[in-house]
Symmetry: C2
Subunit: 198 residues, 2 copies
């Protein structure tokens, strides 16, 4: 019965990640407790550390799933809109990003809250997911700025993503923006329309 151990371990990993996702979505990553997680997954606290290095690793696993969903949501927002002008597509993607953040606030926050421990290697799935997200932004940006070389365009892609991220981030933070959520969409559109040359 070789491999049964592997299967058990994999099953436990999955149960832990699922339980963690539910808890993070409901209470935020900061409220995740090892003992709660063990209870949810039906194992002892110690078993967690057989399946994962530490709690942070579980949050990272959840972040991986979240990032996949976020990428899919952004991509879906411009599927079939290839004929629209580039500025419009940028706005569509940004709104998809905003709505994902609004509807999955705790999961979305967990992706950015996690201080990468001791600057160790960024996981490979992270860079992959990020690249495919950037690739979606790169298409309209390439159309808007056909004169820019690859390096400048890549910089602009990251700048636009960061700018929209900043608007969403501070927009959801009540204390800073003091702006009602429905206005955030307006802020994004104003900025992107200006950049797109109206």
């Amino acid at each position: 019965m070789a491999g049964k151990v592997e299967a058990r371990k994999a099953a436990l990993r999955q149960k832990l990640v699922e339980a963690a996702e539910i808890r993070i979505a409901r209470d935020g990553a900061g409220a995740l407790r090892a003992r709660d997680l063990a209870h949810d997954a039906g194992c002892a606290v110690g078993a967690i550390y057989n399946a994962f290095d530490d709690l942070t690793a579980i949050i990272m696993a959840v972040n991986g799933r979240t990032f996949q969903q976020l990428g899919a949501a952004v991509e879906a927002s411009v599927a079939g809109a290839e004929a629209e002008p580039p500025t419009c597509r940028l706005i569509l993607m940004s709104n998809a990003y905003l709505h994902f953040a609004v509807q999955n606030t705790n999961l979305w926050r967990a992706m950015f809250d996690l201080r990468m421990a001791a600057g160790d290697a960024v996981p490979e799935w992270y860079l992959t997911a990020l690249d495919s997200l950037f690739a979606n932004i790169a298409r309209p940006v390439g159309e808007l700025f056909p004169d820019k070389d690859a390096g400048e365009a890549a910089l602009m892609v990251r700048a636009l993503f960061s700018a929209v991220h900043g608007i969403v981030l501070l927009g959801l933070e009540q204390r800073i923006s003091g702006v009602p959520p429905e206005r955030i969409e307006q802020m994004i559109a104003q900025v992107l329309e200006q950049i797109g040359g109206r």
Copy 2:
């Protein structure tokens, strides 16, 4: 000798905030320890809780100082540049913001990392400092968009601040940007020049 108690308490408060500022600047707010702080300030751990409600309150006090410095740095960056075109002044302020964040990364992060506990009242100094920061941004924005009404202009001010904040935030986060710090200035300039209509 009435008031001597007050003076001692105030002195302790100040020593605690100073010690906390040094530690946060060096190790980040997450590494702040009550026992270290008590040692630095030359008091017992319990005394901290006589001067402040909890550690979070001390971090907030440090954030207040940081915010003051940040505001001063931004304001100084456009002092005497009133004759420059508005886009240029926006870039000057943004670069000042970037450089402050680069040179005081941990203190700057502490201002945004702190999850406002239980959505209780935002401190008054916070809103004041934020308003005066926004007022600086509002001047060039008003020149760039004279047609916008007050509400739209205020939205644009917040959107621009958030956008620049996002570019700085993710730019300093190595894992996301993959962009060398000297390029961040370029990203900001590209975006703001586009918005300002070149």
